[in-house]
Structure formats: structure tokens, C-alpha cells
Amino acid sequence: MDKLYVNFMPQYADAPVSLWLLRKHVGEAAKAAVEAVAAGTQLRLLLPAGASETAAELTAAIAAAGVGTRVVRGSDPDDEAEAKPADVIVTLNRADFGFVYTNDRAAAQVFSGNKPVPAHHNGEVTYDGKMAPKLVSGEAWLRGAGVLAGEGTYVSIVSPDGAYAEPVELAAGATGADVVAASGVDAAEVKALYLGFPTSVFVPAAKLGEPLDLSAGCDAIRVYTTKNCMAAAMDRIAKGWRKESCGHCVFGHEGSWQIATIFGDIVSKRGQANDLDTLGNLCPVMAKNTICDVDATLARTTQQAIELFGDEIRAHYTGAKTCPSGECAAYKTYHILVSKCVGCGECLKACDDGAILGKADFVHVINQAKCTQCGQCREACKYGAVVRAGAKKPKTPPRPIPCRVHA
């Protein structure tokens, strides 16, 4: 009998699209499995650890049709599954990260009771010297079996503030504008889209009208608006990748650490003068020298971010050092408005850092050099005179002046 290996591991833990589709169509999926067995194919399905209920539901439905089925844990060695064969075996994986499962060799490790170890020899030898099978993605299998009707692809759209929406089907040939429309974000405010792993490409606002190429696969598309800082976006993307890095190669593990650390520094006002040059130096080499595609993709994403958003990122550590979009907390400052301050002195009392100057009936002034952005002054002010400002700062006097308004 032929064996077919189907992978329902999510690429993004936050966007388990294949699994969502399986859960939604469990009855039909069971029917497809029964048909596959009848046609002479044994199935091995790989599901995440938390999907035991789905696995139970699916195997029960398959068993009801008289087909032998079994659920094994990812830590069980393959021999056990071989010893007690069944036409449909569902393997519940033991780990919850995702990117690595797009690598066939890595995903196949799980069937041998090992951890997923990726390799660039996709489809070659596994950990235990056995040939790694070619894996089919869960969504592709469901579509091929006729469970999914449409021709498109399912994605989870991520809002500008990071919320994952329920997957929607994007028709073939859909454009960035279609995604924006589906997201409900005002198109005028959109700065870019980010097509998630493994496509991992930014689509800048200027190219929203073009059809999206999702052929490499993509479970999540994030929408960025003008209020999103792209340095902060890269910081989050790189940190996400750090969680996925398997540690088997220097450029993957250490390269992704450098990228994550540098963006982490940039967004917290610790950027260094040649940071983007350093990354520009690293990324082309890193992209070609990781073992698998996971961290190479981060290197390419970083290169693209530098090309598209270099000026915005550089502004964090050059010249006036600002976060142009105003998103980065470290760049936000506190100011006391002349139009509202009554000179009561409550803010001065609340400040633990001695950063506020002023006396009764004078407009108080925050010494930015001493301020630690703790926000105590804003809490203390009953008149709403203390404000937090991002990129655009209000005009304030250099030293206390007599109040223009009174309590």
C-alpha cells in the first residue's frame, strides 16, 4: 500500500489554519480518509499536541466506517506504529512551535519518535537513517480530496494591533487591497502587509493593487498602518523567529539572535550608529548559510525591511532619535501643557526622579534629561495638563513661566 503523510501542524502557532479546517470538516475528512484507504493508500496524519479531541473525533468517524485506525504520541518511536499497523494513524505531536514543520525532513522526524530537525536536504535521509517521506499539507490534502470546494487559499488576517481573525478564503489572484478590505482597516492608513511564513514578504502600500503570490504557502497576513512602527514590527517578527529557531546551525541561531537583539535595541533607544549596516552585512550571508529555510527567511525579511523601511528604522538611532510612527514606548515623552497647567505642584510632588521644575502659580516643566517616563506625573495631574507624546511633541517653555490659566 502507498503511504501518504499529511501535515496538520500549523506554521504559526497563532494561526492553525489546517487544523481549523480539519475541525470544521472533520466528518468529510474522515470520509476522504476512508476513500483513500479504499483506493489503496495508508494515511499518517500529523496533528499538534493539543488536538487530541479532534484526533479522537476523526478516528472515531473513520473507525465507524470499518477502517483500522490508531492515535500515537509523537514521542512513540515509529517501530511501534509499524508493529501495530493501521490504515490510518494519527500522530499527536509533542511540541507546539510551527515553522519547522514546513520542512519535510523535520516533520518526518516526529514519525520516528524524534524532535523535528530540519535540513536543507528536503526529503532525504532522516535522523534514524530512514528515508523521509514527502509530506502534504493538511489544507492541500483536504482540497485535493474535495473537502474544500473553493480554489483559493485560507489565511488568518492579523489586525494592526496583532489580533488573529478566523481564517478566510482568499480567491486565487486576490490582491493586497482585497486583504485590506477583508481586514476592515481604512485603506488610506495602510503602510504595508506582511505575508507570513514561509512566503515572508512585505507588500508596501504602493503595491496593494497587485495580485499576491501565496504559492509558497502562508497562513497569516498582517496589516500594518501608519501608526505601526516598522522597527517594532521587525522586533516582533524577529522575536517570533527566535522561538522557532532550532539551534542546529550558527547562522540560524546566532544570526537570528543578532537580528532580534539589534531590533530590540533599536526600539528601546539603544540602537548603535551602524546597526542597519551590520544587518545588511549579515543578512545576505545568513540567507545562504542556514541549514533549513526557517532562519534564511528571516534574513530575507530583514533585508526587505531595510530596503522598504530603512529610513524609518534609522530615525530611531540617528539625529533627533525619534520613532516616526510614535509606536515605540521608549520614544514617548511627557510634557506639561501651558494651556492647562495651573501650577498646583502635584506633579512635582509625584515625581521620584526630581525631573520636574516649578513653583506655585508657575507652569511646571519636565526636564527630559532626568525623566524616566514613569508616568507618575500624569496620574497626579487633575487638570489633564500632563500629556504623553510620540513623534510630535507639544511646545513647552524651557523653564517655568507664570501660569496662564488658573484653577
Binding site: H120, R242, S245, H248, C249, G252, E254, Q258, I262, V285
Partner: protein
């Protein structure tokens, strides 16, 4: 096939990688994750080379050679990737090498110095991981780990143990066990392969087994090093595990002619140093020797050394373990040996110093018979005389004189057969015995009277032999008093425990006050007064100081007192040889004495020590005497068949918790009534199971050692 590496023509085989071809040709290509014995992964990017003019570098560890290939190790593109990778590694590696135990032998250090790179310009931060010293034998200092994965591959692929793996943590990936459990819990087999392949100071041997004063082999296989005769312990345990008792016996016989005796009464320094002792208990190495001797069929005899006769004659005075060992090896080298034994039978202390319930006559007779027989007759000698002639009942008062009686060399291996009597008040009373005479009489079957109560003075093995012999001879109560507190007594723990079971009443940390005269039988022992010691130490002048517990006197009514406080050689003062510490013969490291042609070995030189120590001395003496007689001094024998070392030891959950197996021992109430050996030999299944506990530390020595660049 031929290829060129940096312009040098190199011969290589089909299927080799570029890295292997370069290694074979002695050309250094930097590499960290690649190891000669492990599958390549291409993760460290140190072995980048450019091939056939291509500008895109590839990993030498994964690229196969082909005919006419042109490899450039230091093409600029290759160097760029290599150096950047090294900089990235160093950026998160602790900056200071000087405190690292691998300083100077670290592959990472050697390689970055070779490349001349530093991590300046990158974000620098070493990842602090606390040093983990909670595991036996292996210390983890993962703050130094560079994730090359050699240890993981060694553990999973080379050994099949599958304990180490990459683990996700908040700080990134590190090496560890699944669920971060201890190595014992994870089922580690403590083979040390991970330590062996680690290119940095991340996985290292615990301090005890990485002593710079010792050789690498002594640190790695301490049992073999601890044995005075250096018996190949892991190798014979391996043979037993395979059920090949013949080969096990051959391996033992390659170093010692007394497996029967050593399998019963050896002090087994090997077990003291056995690394398994750090996990739970040492392997029962000693008793495995007895198992080998029990189940073997004598295959080893086929390959015993029989060099052509030299025409030289050697006299050996004393037929104990030292004397017979020397005789055996000298016979093998073609010398005719005459062994003079003052007693009725051969064996020395094995026969007259150790009670029959520990060393039965038949086993000893069999062993001595083996030695005499395998040494064989003098082939090529028309008289057909045996190579070893044993002459019992002949005391040699003047060994030196033998040189003028046709012998070319003399070995004095007298042992220590004169017991020491302390000048304690009452020591001249009737009923006071001395250890050597008491034990010998018992062994010869005309034992001394032990009716009533017996007090044995002394806390060593011989004291226990006396006490337990007295019990078997029917004494009423048997007491033992010794200066040492129980934890520092020289007797072995099993002797103390078994003696106690048989009824020996131990008074530890007592001074000997007086042997009291009997009121009823004047001139005869009536009791023993001892005093509890509070403190015993040596002062600044190295004089012993004893402080007593006030009111700590104890009077034990008794009829006999046996001194078991030491023994010394007899008759040496009359031999005209240089002596030391009283009656001990001065001999140098080659066993040569102050008289030319006269050698000395065993207890008569070292003082009362161990059987295995005496055997080791016997070997040394044989080597020296052979050299003295014009031979090459090489007494090596090749008796064993070569054994396969299977590096794939496989998974065995719970391995570290498997308890040590002990031989079956007769019940105390029963064994105290006779002199038969009460400890059984291992049966086949137990011998196998216990041998299977061996960590096989020697497998580590089979792992290829990568060379540092300055060794090419």
C-alpha cells in the same frame, strides 16, 4: 582519485567528503560541528570551501570529492562566511578563556586563534547558564556551548542512547535532556561520548576524573589504572557480557596468574575507582573474576608464552603470589625456575594467612597446579625437567648462597609470616596467641585452643580472619578491640558486616591497657582491659597521641588473646642484605636488592599489603630478572581473542539505578560452624547482568580525537 586542495594534489577515495580527503592529506580545514566519527550536518560553516572556481562556497564536510576537483579552502568568499560564522559564535561565548578547563586544548579556541577573528562589531552577550554539577561523572557548563550538536549526535547516533537533545528555553536553544531531568533519570549510560566529542569546555569530566597529574587513560578508565597489575577490566567484563568466559579468563590471565584467588580475596582497588560508584555502586569487578575462572575451559593455556630455554636458572624463595607470579613469567621467558617453600604446601599467605572459608584449598591447589603445568616441561631439555620445580618444606636461610649453587639469579619473596606481639602488660601470659601462628595452625588442621572467650586485638582483615576463625573453632564469645574508630578501620566493610553477623563483638576506638592474669589459673589469661579512646592523632613530631574517655575502661573476661596488629618477615636480618624499617629488604623499582643477582618482591619489601600488589611485584621482578639474565624483559602474553567494541550501546531506561549484584552468601548461623567457602560464585545470569552494568568507559578511547590546527 586525485583532486587538488589549495593547489596541492591529493589522493582521495570515492565517497569521501572534501573534509575527509583534506584530513587524510594532513591539510587543515577549520571545522567545529564535523567530527570524524559523526555524520556531518553543515551547521557551523567553518569548513567552507570554494570548489572548481565557483564563488558560492560549500561545506567541505558535506561535499563529496570527484576526480579532478579543485578545492580552494581560503577563497575570499569561503573565508568571509567562515569568519562571520566564527564571529557570531564568539559574540555569545564567554569572552575569557583563561578560567576554562579546556584552555589550550579547546578546539574553538584553537580555531579562532588560527583564523584571527574577534566578535567586535556584533552584539556581544554570553548566555549565562548555571554550571550543572548535580550529575555524577559529567559536569555541564553550557554557558560555553556553541550548539555544534556533536554531543547530541554522539549520544543519539553513535551510541543510540538518545538522552541528549536540543532543548528550547526562554534564552534560546540549549543542550539537555527531555524535560530537563537529571542524566540518571533520563537513562544516561555515562559512556562519556558527549564529553569526548565536545570541542569546547561545555561538557567535561568531573574534577575527580580529570586529574591533570594522571594520564588520559587513567582518567578515562580508572579501574584498569587502579589495578596494580593493570588487568583490562572493561575488556573482560565485555567478554563476560557476551557469555565468552574463556576469553574473559584469557584477558585476566594476560596480566595475572591467579584469577581464582583474586576473584575471592582481592582488595579490588578497581572497584574503589570504578566510575559506576559515582552513580550508585561500583561494578562487582572482583567477583566477576571468580565467575570467569569458574566457567572457563582453559582456552588461555593454548597461547601461553614458551620461549626457548635460555639455560639460565633462577631460584625463587617463597611460593606466595609474588614468588609464583615471578616463577610463571620467568619460565615463560625460558628460564628454569626452582621455587623453595619452607611450608608443607605452596601458596604463602593465600594458604596460611587467609582462612579456608575465604580461600579454599581446592581452588588454590587448582590455581597453583595451573601455573606449574602451563609453565610446562623444559622443551629442548633432554632431562624433560619441568620449567618450574617446586620444592616444599625447604627453608632457605641464606638466599644469596644460592648464587654459588648453580643459580644465576635469586628472588626473595618470603612474605610476612611472623606476627607482631605488642609489649602490653600480660603479653607473656599463657593463652596469648599471635595472628600468623593462629591462622596457620587452623589451616594446617591442628588448631590452637579457643575454649572460653577470645579477644582479638586489631582492626584489619587479618584481625577479622582470626576472630571469625575463632568462632568457627567453637570459641564462646569472640571480641575484637582496635584503636581505630569503625569508619577508619582497615578491614573491608563486608568483613566487618559479615563478622558481626557471625557474632564478632566489636569494640572500636579502644586502647589496649592490660592482659589480666586469671585468678583461678595463675600464669594464664583471665581477661582483657581496654579503654575507650576520645581522640587519636599524630602531634607535630609525628608521634602518636591518644586521649582517653575518662572512666572508659572496659574489662572483658576471656581465656585467650590474639594479637592481630601486624606481621613482618622472618629471618631477613641474617641474610646480609640492606634492610629498612627493621626486617624489610631494600629493593629498588626493579626489585633489585643490595646484592647483585638477588632480587626481592612482595610483602618482604612492601610490608604486608595486598595479593594483587604482590602479583604486580612478581611481574616486575620477572621483568628485571629476565633483563638481568640477558633477556628483553618483555613478559607480555597475548592470550585473548580480539573483541569487537560495539559503540552503539543503545537505550536502557533506568540504567543508572540498576543495583550492584552480589554473590549469594550462606546464612551467618550456618556458616559460623564450618570452614567451607560460604560465598558462592555468580551464576551465569548474574555474571552477565552485573557485567552489563559496566559503563564501558574504554569505548571513549575508540573515539577519534580531532587534531588542533597546530597538529597538522
Amino acid at each position: 582519485m586525485k583532486l587538488t586542495i589549495d593547489g596541492r594534489e591529493v589522493e582521495a577515495c570515492e565517497g569521501q567528503t572534501v573534509l575527509q580527503a583534506a584530513e587524510d592529506a594532513g591539510i587543515f580545514i577549520p571545522h567545529l560541528c564535523a567530527h570524524p566519527d559523526l555524520e556531518p550536518v553543515g551547521g557551523c560553516r567553518q569548513c567552507m570551501v570554494c570548489v572548481d572556481g565557483a564563488t558560492e562556497p560549500v561545506c567541505a564536510c558535506e561535499t563529496l570529492v570527484h576526480e579532478g576537483m579543485a578545492v580552494e579552502v581560503h577563497a575570499p568568499e569561503a573565508d568571509r562566511v567562515r569568519k562571520m560564522a566564527m564571529q557570531l559564535i564568539l559574540a555569545t561565548h564567554p569572552a575569557d578563556c583563561s578560567g576554562c578547563p579546556k584552555f589550550g586544548i579547546c578546539e574553538l579556541q584553537s580555531m579562532y586563534q588560527f583564523m584571527g577573528v574577534s566578535p567586535q562589531g556584533w552584539r556581544l552577550k554570553s548566555r549565562p547558564v548555571p554550571t550543572d554539577e548535580s550529575n555524577p561523572l559529567i559536569t555541564h557548563m553550557f554557558t560555553r556551548c556553541i550548539r555544534c550538536g556533536r554531543c547530541v549526535r554522539a549520544c543519539r547516533e553513535m551510541r543510540g542512547v538518545k538522552v541528549l537533545d536540543y532543548q528550547r528555553t526562554e534564552e534560546g536553544i540549549r543542550i539537555g535532556t527531555d524535560g530537563h531531568v537529571s542524566l540518571v533519570e533520563a537513562g544516561c549510560r555515562f559512556c562519556g561520548a558527549c564529553v569526548e566529542v565536545c570541542p569546547t569546555g561545555s561538557i567535561i569530566d568531573v574534577l575527580k576524573y580529570s586529574d591533570p597529574a594522571k594520564s588520559r587513560e587513567s582518567n578515562v578508565v580508572p579501574c584498569r589504572a587502579a589495578c596494580p597489575a593493570h588487568i583490562n577490566v572493561p575488556e573482560y567484563l565485555r567478554a563476560i557480557r557476551e557469555g565468552d568466559y574463556d576469553n574473559a579468563a584469557s584477558i585476566i590471565h594476560e596480566r595475572v596468574p591467579f584469577p581464582e584467588a583474586l576473584g575471592r580475596v582481592c582488595t579490588h582497588a578497581c572497584e574503589t575507582d570504578c566510575k559506576h560508584g559515582e552513580i550508585n555502586q561500583p561494578v562487582s569487578i572482583c567477583k566477576e573474576k571468580r565467575a570467569a575462572a569458574t566457567f572457563e575451559s582453559g582456552e588461555w593455556k593454548a597461547n601461553v608464552r614458551h620461549d626457548p630455554l635460555t639455560g639460565k636458572r633462577v631460584a625463587v624463595v617463597g611460593s606466595g603470589p609474588a614468588g609464583l607470579t615471578a616463577a610463571y613469567y620467568l619460565a615463560g621467558k625460558g628460564h628454569a625456575v626452582t621455587v623453595f617453600e619452607a611450608n608443607e604446601k605452596a601458596g604463602g599467605q593465600l594458604r596460611y594467612g587467609i582462612p579456608a572459608y575465604r580461600m579454599p584449598d581446592d581452588a588454590l591447589d587448582h590455581e597453583i597446579q595451573n601455573i606449574l603445568e602451563t609453565a610446562g616441561s623444559g622443551e629442548g631439555d633432554p632431562t624433560g625437567a619441568p620449567r618450574i620445580e617446586l620444592r616444599c618444606g625447604e627453608r632457605v636461610a641464606q638466599p644469596k648462597d644460592l648464587l654459588s649453587q648453580g643459580f644465576d639469579a635469586v628472588l626473595i619473596a618470603l612474605g610476612t609470616h611472623q606476627g607482631t606481639v605488642l609489649p602490653t602488660k600480660g603479653h607473656e601470659l599463657e593463652g596469648v596467641y599471635v595472628n600468623t601462628a593462629f591462622l596457620k595452625a587452623a589451616r594446617e588442621g591442628h588448631h590452637m585452643d579457643v575454649s572460653g572467650n577470645v579477644v582479638v586485638l586489631g582492626g584489619g582483615s587479618v584481625a577479622y580472619d582470626c576472630a571469625r576463625t575463632a568462632i568457627r573453632l567453637g570459641a564462646n564469645e569472640v571480641h575484637m578491640a582496635c584503636l581505630e574508630a569503625r569508619p577508619v578501620m582497615t578491614a573491608a566493610l563486608d568483613e566487618i558486616v559479615e563478622g558481626g553477623e557471625e557474632g564478632v563483638i566489636l569494640h572500636d576506638a579502644y586502647g589496649f591497657d592490660e592482659i589480666m592474669e586469671s585468678a583461678e589459673k595463675p600464669g594464664h589469661v583471665g581477661g582483657m582491659r581496654i579503654r575507650k579512646i576520645a581522640k587519636f592523632y599524630f602531634d607535630e613530631n609525628h608521634r602518636a597521641v591518644t586521649e582517653f574517655v575518662p572512666g572508659g575502661e572496659l574489662e572483658i573476661p576471656c581465656d585467650h588473646v590474639i594479637f592481630a596488629v601486624g606481621q613482618k618477615p622472618e629471618g631477613t636480618t641474617e641474610m646480609g642484605l640492606e634492610l629498612t624499617h627493621g626486617p624489610y629488604i631494600v629493593a629498588d623499582a626493579t626489585c633489585a636488592t643490595s646484592a647483585e643477582g638477588v632480587f626481592a618482591a612482595g610483602d618482604v619489601v612492601t610490608g604486608t599489603k595486598t595479593i594483587i600488589g604482590a602479583i604486580a611485584q612478581g611481574r616486575t621482578a620477572a621483568e628485571s630478572i629476565d633483563r638481568y639474565l640477558g633477556g628483553d624483559g618483555d613478559i607480555t602474553e597475548h592470550l585473548a581473542r580480539a573483541q569487537r567494541h560495539d559503540p552503539f550501546i543503545g537505550r536502557r531506561p533506568g540504567f543508572g539505578k540498576e543495583p550492584r549484584l552480589e554473590p549469594k552468601v550462606g546464612a551467618a548461623a550456618e556458616r559460623r560452624t564450618h570452614f567451607c567457602q560460604y560465598e558462592e560464585a555468580f551464576d551465569d545470569a548474574t555474571a552477565h547482568a552485573e557485567a552489563d552494568r559496566c559503563l564501558q568507559c574504554d569505548l571513549r578511547l575508540d573515539v577519534t580525537r580531532p587534531r588542533l590546527w597546530n597538529e597538522y
